[in-house]
Symmetry: C2
């Protein structure tokens, strides 16, 4: 048996290790947060270990200790963006009953997030332009993150059909494509062209799509 003093020492060392680890994780999270803010402004491709180190008032080697490469930093930023997207859109929508209420909530939160991003930019949209012809792990991470999200939208359309909130011949892929178009038009017209009332256009467009697929009520 190990004597109590040795156990106590081991416990102390473990605590120190844990605290160091926590501190490291906090620093890493702070770096990602800063890098995400920068990516929204200057694009994922604009990110560099050096620029992020400057913004964090850290040394380049300090940032390198957390991310072995620029690519790894970019991928961590995409993961963080994905998580925030989930927290702001997916999780609140999941609180709503399956079917039309959840689909509506999904679109509503997505649209609100897109509007909030009118000033900062959407990583899924700017990243698509930056990486559409640059194969590699960053592009893969971005595309996989977007696909996860579009799959969630697709599933929620299917559920609305299964709950008979939409007509039974609803083509879920087609409907999701049309909904995606509204979000892209909202982002383009509001952010780039500064067209007034784009948010109302997107809302109205969504009602038109719902009507088309047999959801007859305006509110539910």
């Amino acid at each position: 048996m190990t004597d109590p003093q040795t156990l106590h020492d081991r416990h102390d060392k473990q605590l120190v290790r844990q605290r160091l680890l926590q501190k490291g994780q906090q620093t890493k999270a702070a770096i990602i947060d800063t890098a995400l803010g920068m990516a929204a402004q200057i694009g994922l491709e604009g990110l560099s270990i050096g620029a992020v180190a400057d913004a964090m008032q850290m040394s380049k080697s300090g940032v390198f200790a957390h991310f072995g490469s620029r690519e790894e930093l970019q991928i961590s930023v995409i993961r963080e963006y994905h998580q925030r997207f989930e927290q702001e859109i997916f999780f609140p929508a999941m609180e709503m009953p399956r079917g039309l209420p959840r689909l509506r909530a999904l679109f509503h939160c997505w649209m609100l997030r897109t509007s909030a991003e009118i000033d900062s930019g959407c990583l899924y949209i700017s990243g698509a332009v930056e990486f559409d012809d640059r194969p590699g792990p960053v592009r893969d991470a971005l595309a996989s993150s977007v696909k996860t999200w579009l799959t969630a939208l697709h599933r929620s359309v299917l559920q609305a059909r299964d709950e008979q909130h939409l007509s039974k011949d609803t083509d879920a892929t087609q409907m999701s494509f049309e909904i995606h178009g509204l979000i892209l038009a909202l982002h383009y017209e509001a952010r780039f062209l500064k067209t007034a009332k784009s948010l109302n256009r997107a809302k109205q467009g969504f009602e038109h799509i719902l009507q088309r697929y047999g959801a007859t009520t305006q509110k539910d």
Copy 2:
């Protein structure tokens, strides 16, 4: 009166000047053509006098002689893109009768051009992301070019309504927004996500929008 020999000399000099001018214009057009190809791949912001000179196997000062600045080169590229867009989409559509046939042709040509650009990228979409938070003459040229095009779309919706090919309460701005969304979704899903059958999705979406606005026939 001027004697015939002097007139002849003057005429010769004029011819030489004209030919030099023509040669200059041809070189300028060739530079713009190269720069446009490059912008489609690397973005408008990727363009530099030096890179274009390299691609043309010209000296930097040779390119500078035609474009006083990088900005001027970028704006010339946008103008050229605008003209090609007009030639491929607007002019063929204008050959069709006013109303629904013209609106259909407009969408059809726009969609085809977007598909053709799946490999090379669309300057109006990539440029919007590059310049959405960079004020200045390049952004202004790009936004004004896009707006000219969206205005033509809007006008063609109005004409279709006036021709009673669409229902009389058609909100032309709303309908144009929804059509724009389909094109953006086509570009995003086909180019970035490589989703199969995106072209069919866009076509189907257009039929849905037409139905929604009271154009009951599938073909006309």
